[in-house]
Amino acid sequence: MTIPRYLARRVLLGAVQTLLVVVGVFALTEALPGDAAVMIAGDNPDPAIIAALRERLGLDEPAWQRLGEWLVAALHGDLGRSLVGPRSVVDIIASAAGPTLLLAALTLALLVPLSVGLGVLSARREGSRLDRLVTGTTLSLYSAPEFAMGVLVVTVFAVQLRWFPPTAVGTSLLSNPAVLVLPVFVLLLRPICSLSRLIRAGMIDAQRSGYVHHVRRLGLSPVRVHFAHALPNAAAPAIQQLARTTDWLIGGVIVVEAIFVVPGLGTTLAEAVAARDLPVIQGLAVVFATATVLVNLAADIAARVLSPTAEVGR
């Protein structure tokens, strides 16, 4: 299949996937007990107040009708307004996207060189003490949840040693970059482990493969053998993993955002679900679904280009 045809198919498929996600999220949110009116009333569940709220928020209309109206508006680029606050969904998502994107971009920018370097290094010295050290460390770090790492890192580096601020509370990430250090560190730990493991395994396979033996015999320098010939093949599965990592980062990294008080998409999603703020949840579903489709598409294409022989998912 040619790349343009492949691309067209995937984009179409992506649009259908996004639609399914959005409808699914709507159905799931509807299935949650209570609605925004009940949430707003909180511990003062006066039936008259709840009824008035439902009417004002349009929650008294049937679900299919609300979904339909929302979809039509969304196709025109209008994601609606929050049910529980005065702001528009686009406005809420735009202001929350900044911190999450910044964290994700920084993490990715550091993640790729670090995990490639680590993976190549241990593959080249397969079985050495260094390799065993890297393997041991990455395996044990990979099993530590972000939550535990976050708490540990804050306690040691922020509260006790006072090297970095413990949270990003009350400050913007850009005006005070020191607040980024610990969250990015925690975000990096696990993906570095998984990616460097994949690169290492891929590199070892590639080093043992016929074509690498062949280019070696041709007398190419070891550096060229590694980086121009072995690495691209080894990178194909790693890129798929990187795509998943990117989804996970854009998905808000709820835990890290909560620990470090970063007002990003993850925090916004958690708050919107708790408030049953359907338009905000739907808007975030669109953002997350679109991002996932695009990132995976890009990864598949990159893998195809890097390693044309490998079978590419469609």
Binding site: M39, T167, G170, A258
Partner: protein, 515 residues
């Protein structure tokens, strides 16, 4: 307060509470102040609260979360607010005078000015109350203020309002102090740059993140000492503590007893345990089996080991209660003998009610700190008298609405409010959140008589009788009242350690200073 994975904890609900208030007249500047020399002006105080994210509003009449109330009281004032014993303290109202039959109240306003220089006038008060009670409004103070017959109320002059009421209401000043009953300049519709009469002036606001206000030098109650007040939001309790320890904030709202004990002893922070803040109890529905039998309600009264619950659930940060609401508040019946666990008596009562070996569903959830722990402990205690209380963990987000109509026994909590509000909101036949289904014409009659009398002693007597009835037969079992815990950096002074959460002196930053 919630959760696994530390999802932000929307504590959406400022609380059952009405609001807050200051100590009685003459109660000195807040602050059982520690050392630190004389109050010193200047500086910025940064305070961390949990919040509601993008949904947060600056409309003080819609304020619901603790953080929204804290911001509202920085920018705005009410006509009255609640003192530490829940009696109303005049604020923008300089004084109030009822007519003989208590259906007309004349309020004299203080000389005060809005932040843009306009004077506070009677028309602003009427417009503010009209906005709260307008048709379709879901504002919290609406039900309380709907006792006012607004079309027939009027301004006598610029500084005098005459409220005509629908019925005699001897404790009308409680309504003036209700949560959200803030006074706005007439015609206010948007809150991008809110204008109030409060001690601080608005500077900037990002919902769910940060709020900045600056000193109002012309505040009627004296200018604040602080130059600036910044309120930042983080739902994670550990993050609030860390921000305080790391010097990012000087005040952290709502700590767990565990954090308080951990850091207090290290001397890194000052811990303030605000007493009488949060009542914990059980709600038994008296209109249906099995709790329609008063013996079974009494059996629970004699079953519960209050000391043990205070020890385990509050970890000592609280006190035992005596089953009726409002310990320490005005009109509270403190002459009633303190109940203690009496298993023999409880067993006998269970037998009398014919409920031996009975299984009863017991609703609880994570909707409030300690709710689930208390339910499990009480269900354990019940085994000793042959009752099987089957604890059912409900959805934390919809809990209060779920238990309003369903079930027979539920864990319950309440913030502070005057006894009168507790009665009128929860225990009258007409109450909209009558979670125990307590409907007694003679109880209603006593309440209405108490509101129709100008005789203070007679009112206290009626309240005492009502509490006695509830003590013996009621559907509520209030077993304890917990402290509200806030912490501050060592250099912060002027925080009132006696004010229950949601009263005037709680989260009151105009009397705080930095040394």
């Amino acid at each position: 307060m919630r959760p696994e994975l530390r999802l932000p904890a929307l504590s959406r609900r400022g609380f059952l509470g009405l609001t807050a208030a200051a100590a009685l007249a003459g109660c000195a500047a807040p602050g059982s102040t520690s050392a630190g020399g004389p109050p010193r002006p200047g500086g910025r105080l940064r305070a961390a609260f949990s919040g509601g994210g993008a949904a947060e509003v600056l409309d003080p009449q819609d304020s619901d979360l603790y953080v929204e109330i804290a911001r509202a009281k920085a920018l705005f004032d009410k006509l009255a607010d609640f003192g530490s014993d829940m009696s109303p303290v005049p604020r923008l109202a300089e004084r109030w005078e009822p007519s003989a039959e208590l259906t007309t109240w004349r309020i004299t306003l203080r000389q005060a000015a809005f932040h843009d220089g306009r004077p506070l006038r009677a028309a602003d008060v009427l417009a503010s109350y009209a906005r709260i009670t307008e048709p379709g409004s879901s504002r919290r103070a609406k039900s309380t203020l709907s006792v006012i017959d607004l079309p027939n109320s009027r301004e006598i002059d610029d500084r005098t309002v005459e409220f005509r009421l629908q019925r005699p209401y001897g404790e009308f000043p409680n309504a003036l102090a209700a949560l959200g009953a803030y006074i706005l300049p007439g015609g206010t519709a948007d809150f991008d740059r809110p204008i109030g009469t409060g001690p601080f002036r608005f500077a900037s606001f990002e919902p769910g993140r940060t709020f900045l206000a600056v000193r109002n030098p012309d505040h009627w109650d004296g200018a604040p000492l602080l130059d600036e007040l910044e309120i930042v939001v983080t739902n994670d309790e550990a993050a609030r503590v860390n921000a305080l320890l790391g010097g990012q904030v000087e005040y952290a709202h709502d700590l767990t007893p565990t954090s308080a004990r951990t850091y207090e002893s290290s001397g890194q922070v000052q811990v303030h345990r605000l007493p009488l803040s949060n009542f914990h109890g059980l709600a038994m529905k008296v209109d249906r089996p099995p709790f329609d039998r008063p013996e079974l309600r009494q059996a629970l009264f004699h079953l519960v080991d209050r000391e043990e619950l205070v020890r385990s659930v509050f970890q000592g940060s609280g006190q035992v209660c005596n089953d009726v609401y409002g310990k320490g508040y005005r009109y509270y019946a403190d002459a009633l003998p303190q109940r203690r666990q009496d298993l023999d008596r409880a067993r006998a009562l269970v037998r009398q009610a014919g409920a031996e070996g009975m299984t009863i569903g017991f609703d609880t959830s994570d909707a409030s700190t300690g709710l689930k722990e208390a339910a499990l402990a009480i269900s354990d205690q019940a085994k000793e008298i042959g009752l099987h209380l089957e604890v059912r963990l409900g959805n934390k987000d919809t809990y209060w609405s779920d238990i309003a109509g369903n079930g027979v026994l539920a864990g319950y909590r309440s913030g502070g409010m005057p006894l009168e509000s507790h009665f009128s909101q929860r225990l009258l036949t007409t109450s909209t959140t009558n979670n125990t289904r307590w409907r007694r014409p003679e109880f209603d009659a006593r309440y209405h008589e108490a509101q129709s009398t100008t005789d203070e002693a007679r009112r206290a007597e009626l309240y005492r009788e009502m509490q006695e009835t509830l003590f013996h037969e009621g559907g509520f079992l209030w077993w304890g009242v917990s402290d509200w815990i806030v912490a501050s950096a060592p250099g912060v002074h002027g925080i009132d350690d006696r004010a229950p959460a949601n009263t005037l002196d709680w989260a009151r930053f105009d009397k705080v200073w930095l040394a």
